[in-house]
C-alpha cells in the first residue's frame, strides 16, 4: 500500500491495469445487459423491473464510493498517505455521477410503479442529501487554493457526512417509506428470484469495475495535475511565458 504512495509506481501500475480492467468491465456489461434483457418480467412490475439492473447497482455504488472517500479521508488525516487526498478528490465526481444515475433512474421507475416521480420519504431524501454532499465536496476542492488545506477540509466534511450512510441503509426499516425494503442483502437471504438476481449481481460487478477503472484513471490525472502545477511554478520562477498560459488555464 505504501509502495503505491510513490507516484511513478502508481502510474506504472495504472498503465498496466487500466486496459485489462476496461476490457473486463465492457465484457461484464455486455453479459449483464444480455442476461437482464433475457430475464423474465416481474409478476407485479412487468418489464419495468429491467430498470432495476441499472438503478440498484448505481444506488449501491453511490454509498460504496462515499465509503471509499471516508477511508481515503482517514488516510489523509490519520495515516497521512500521500495519495489519499488524490483518491478522495478523484472519487467525488464519480460518486456524484452514480448518485445522479440512481436518483434519475429511480424517479423514472417510480412514476409507473408508484404513480409519482418523487416523494419526500426517508430513502429518497437521504440519497438526495448524499448527492448534495458530493456536489459540496467538489465545490470545496475547487474553492480552496492551497491543496493541503483543501484536502483536510474535504476529509473532515467527508467524515461528518458518513452519518448519512446508515440513515440511507436503514431508512426503509426505521421509517414508513414508499421505497421497498432491502431484498438482496438480508439476514434471511435474497427475496429476488434467481433469474432476476443473477443479472443484477453481474451488473453490480460491472458497475463496480467501471468505478474502479475510472477511479484509477482519475487518481492518475490528479498525480499528473500536481506534476504540472509543480513544473509550472518552476517555469514561472525561471520567467517562462508558457507557465503563465498554463496557470491561466487552471493547472492546479
Amino acid at each position: 500500500m505504501w509502495n503505491l504512495a510513490n507516484p511513478s509506481v502508481f502510474l506504472a501500475l495504472t498503465r498496466r491495469l487500466v486496459p485489462w480492467l476496461a476490457l473486463l468491465t465492457a465484457a461484464l456489461f455486455a453479459i449483464g445487459l444480455a442476461m437482464g434483457f433475457a430475464a423474465p418480467p416481474d409478476y407485479q412490475q412487468g418489464e419495468t423491473v429491467k430498470i432495476m439492473y441499472i438503478h440498484v447497482p448505481a444506488a449501491w455504488l453511490s454509498t460504496f464510493i462515499y465509503g471509499v472517500m471516508a477511508l481515503a479521508s482517514l488516510g489523509t488525516l490519520v495515516w497521512r498517505h500521500p495519495l489519499a487526498d488524490a483518491a478522495q478528490k478523484a472519487a467525488a465526481p464519480l460518486g456524484a455521477g452514480f448518485t445522479f444515475v440512481c436518483l434519475v433512474t429511480g424517479s423514472l421507475w417510480g412514476r409507473p410503479m408508484w404513480g409519482t416521480y418523487w416523494v419526500w420519504d426517508a430513502r429518497l431524501t437521504s440519497v438526495l442529501v448524499l448527492f448534495i454532499l458530493y456536489l459540496g465536496l467538489i465545490a470545496l476542492w475547487r474553492s480552496i487554493d492551497d491543496p493541503g488545506r483543501a484536502a483536510r477540509a474535504a476529509a473532515i466534511l467527508t467524515l461528518v457526512g458518513t452519518v448519512n450512510l446508515p440513515i440511507i441503509k436503514f431508512s426503509v426499516d426505521w421509517w414508513n417509506t414508499l421505497h421497498q425494503p432491502a431484498s438482496v442483502f438480508r439476514m434471511d437471504g435474497p427475496t429476488i428470484a434467481p433469474a432476476l438476481l443473477w443479472p443484477l449481481l453481474i451488473m453490480a460487478l460491472a458497475f463496480t469495475l467501471l468505478f474502479l477503472t475510472l477511479h484509477l484513471m482519475a487518481i492518475r490525472n490528479e498525480i499528473l495535475r500536481r506534476r504540472l502545477a509543480r513544473l509550472t511554478m518552476i517555469a514561472a520562477a525561471e520567467g517562462d511565458a508558457l507557465s503563465h498560459e498554463l496557470a491561466a488555464g487552471g493547472a492546479r
Partner: protein
C-alpha cells in the same frame, strides 16, 4: 417491443444511465489528454533537446 407497458420509462432510464456514464468516461479521458499535452509542452520547453 413498442407495445410493452411503460417502455418509454425503461428506454429513458437506460438512456440517462448511458449518457451519464459516457460523460464520466469522456471527462476522465479528456482530462488525461489535456494534462499530458500540457506536460509535454512544458517539459519540451524546459528540455528542448530531449525530443530530437
Amino acid at each position: 417491443m413498442l407495445d410493452i407497458p411503460h417502455i418509454g420509462f425503461i428506454v429513458a432510464a437506460y438512456g440517462v444511465a448511458f449518457v451519464a456514464i459516457a460523460a464520466m468516461i469522456a471527462a476522465v479521458t479528456l482530462d488525461y489528454r489535456q494534462l499530458t499535452a500540457q506536460l509535454q509542452r512544458l517539459e519540451g520547453r524546459r528540455h528542448p533537446g530531449d525530443g530530437a
